[in-house]
């Protein structure tokens, strides 16, 4: 499995990670300048920049695996909605600060244990990106978990709001934690991670944060979202229309 000419599963699996980072960075980018306090403008921008940096490395790596000459921008700006393989969680709108920070906690608590395992990936490019990314992800998790605790154990209003955010966003976590065929194939090949093990770490982290925040764990719901297979809700199309507008309006221009 050389760098140019990875399997299509390998390409798709790296794209899942890349797109999940990119779409979340795009969402956080909408907020810069509009956060509840100046420190949060800086903190959210910091997370957005790290995620975008990781997304660029992952997209470049995916393009090399595909071997068709697509670079990070071709993959980001010239694919359609159904070709985006991001988790459905990250395309959810920013909502209020509670929604933003709960989405971030549920994501960060997944990314940290995932990256920890990917540092041992048989794909050396992916292992290097994960080794750099895991330090950033741990920092993001401290930030998001710290805020969930303050909002949960803050005022009656903040507790009610953030519990509502948790209920709304919880259904989107299932696909992050349950392996499908591509996840299993990549784990078996030593490229991906064992999502059952990631799930164990995620459950412990989220349970600890919710306990400290005096929040209740929502019930799991039967419906499954599969953004990672290109099956999205209603929000991604608009996000991409905005993100891709200049590249689509001026085909072939350089910027």
């Amino acid at each position: 499995m050389s760098a140019a000419g990875g399997s299509s599963s390998h390409f798709a699996w790296v794209l899942r990670l890349a797109d999940t980072n990119l779409v979340l960075a795009q969402r956080l980018g909408e907020l810069i300048g509009h956060a509840p306090a100046l420190e949060e403008d800086l903190g959210l921008a910091n997370t957005a920049l790290d995620l975008l940096g990781q997304a660029r490395l992952l997209l470049t790596h995916a393009g090399q695996l595909e071997g068709k000459g697509r670079d990070e921008d071709a993959l980001a700006f010239l694919r359609e909605e159904s070709e985006f393989l991001n988790a459905t969680l990250v395309e959810q709108p920013n909502g209020d600060f509670g929604d933003t920070i709960v989405r971030q906690l549920l994501f960060d608590a997944w990314q940290v244990p995932l990256y920890e395992r990917l540092t041992l990936s048989r794909d050396p490019g992916l292992a290097a990106i994960a080794a750099k990314g895991v330090k950033e992800a741990r920092y993001h998790l401290r930030y998001s978990a710290g805020w969930v605790v303050r909002l949960g154990d803050g005022t009656a209003e903040s507790r009610e709001r953030v519990q509502g955010s948790l209920e709304r966003l919880w259904p989107f976590t299932a696909e992050l934690l349950q392996a499908d065929d591509i996840d299993r194939e990549m784990h078996a090949a030593g490229i991906g991670a064992d999502l059952a093990a990631v799930r164990g770490d995620w459950e412990r982290q989220v349970a600890a944060t919710l306990a400290e925040a005096t929040l209740e764990r929502p019930r799991d719901r039967p419906w499954r979202w599969y953004g990672k297979r290109g099956e999205h809700g209603e929000h991604l199309g608009r996000l991409l229309a905005q993100m891709q507008v200049l590249q689509r309006t001026h085909p072939g221009a350089s910027w």
Binding site: A45, L52, R150
Partner: protein, 300 residues
């Protein structure tokens, strides 16, 4: 020591180019003038996040997106240290922000202009940050220590911002016909407002003479404006863009300053909206901190 003696010693220190520090005695008028100038500067950084922030989600490449996010984040950081430096004069950031939101504090008029195209992001970096650097480099030697030190750090980042703006303009100027038109349109929009950033002509500037005596300000508005023009005209020629002809319309300057510019309302509304929407979050953080303190007291 009586006031006359304190004032004489203060004036002597200014004449000797000594730095004034927060705990030093200073005339009330000097303190008030610094609070006014520094808080306006801090507000300008915060409001200045909005026109460029308008393009973060639509930046045309991922590299440009990352650079723009970092730039807007830098501006927030500049606002944070300028508020911090202003607090050394005995005011609070919360009170200053309340004045901004109430519409009673000023910020740089330039941020009341819209950014309808991607080229406006380039023009802001090239012209607006370029003009800001001209204004701000002398402030690194300003007589008030905390302001001077904040400006050293800020100027380093601003020069990076200016270069990235020019780099955007260069890509557009070497691009397609539509891109070149976009670049020229942005230069046409930003040229006059950028020249107005240096403030009214020397003859009409009400704060200049006193600020020069206090060595808060080192060059006059017109001197800095001329220097900026000399610096920028050859850069426009290199891009193959035309500098607009004509003269500055000072009535426009006064209108924008008085709240009647194209985006004054949008900018303040955006700041107020963020502040209002964030109220419950700030209240929760305070309530949590208070609970933590009482838990610690109980534990002792």
């Amino acid at each position: 020591m009586d006031t006359a003696a304190l004032e004489a010693r203060f004036a002597a220190r200014i004449d000797a180019d000594e730095r004034i520090e927060p705990k030093d005695w200073m005339p009330d008028a000097y303190r008030r003038a610094l609070i006014r100038q520094m808080s306006q500067h801090a507000h300008s950084e915060i409001v200045g996040m909005l026109p460029e922030g308008n393009w973060i989600t639509r930046a045309p490449t991922l590299k440009r997106k990352a650079i723009l996010m970092a730039k807007v984040q830098d501006e927030g950081g500049h606002g944070a240290y300028l508020y911090g430096a202003t607090e050394t004069l005995g005011v609070t950031r919360a009170a200053l922000i309340d004045e901004l939101l109430a519409g009673s504090a000023k910020y740089s008029s330039i941020f009341n202009y819209p950014t309808p195209t991607w080229a406006d992001v380039g023009a802001i970096g090239w012209l607006v940050d370029g003009a800001a650097i001209m204004n701000q480099i002398p402030l690194c030697r300003c007589s008030y220590g905390p302001y001077a030190r904040a400006m050293v750090r800020i100027c380093k980042e601003e020069s990076f911002h200016q270069r990235q703006g020019y780099d955007i303009m260069l890509s557009l100027a070497r691009g397609t016909l539509a891109q070149r038109r976009m670049a020229q349109g942005a230069l046409d929009r930003w040229w006059w407002p950028a020249l107005m950033m240096f403030g009214p002509p020397d003859a009409e500037s009400k704060h200049s003479a006193q600020s020069m005596r206090w060595k808060v300000k080192r060059f006059t508005n017109d001197e800095l404006r001329e220097r900026f023009i000399e610096f920028t005209v050859p850069q426009a020629e290199f891009l193959g863009l035309e500098i607009p002809r004509g003269t500055i319309d000072w009535s426009e300057f006064h209108e924008v300053l008085n709240g009647n510019g194209p985006c004054n309302r949008e900018r303040l509304t955006a700041r107020r909206h963020a502040h209002e929407q964030g109220r419950w979050v700030r209240e929760a953080a305070l309530a949590y901190a208070e609970k933590q303190r009482s838990r610690q007291r109980e534990a002792v």
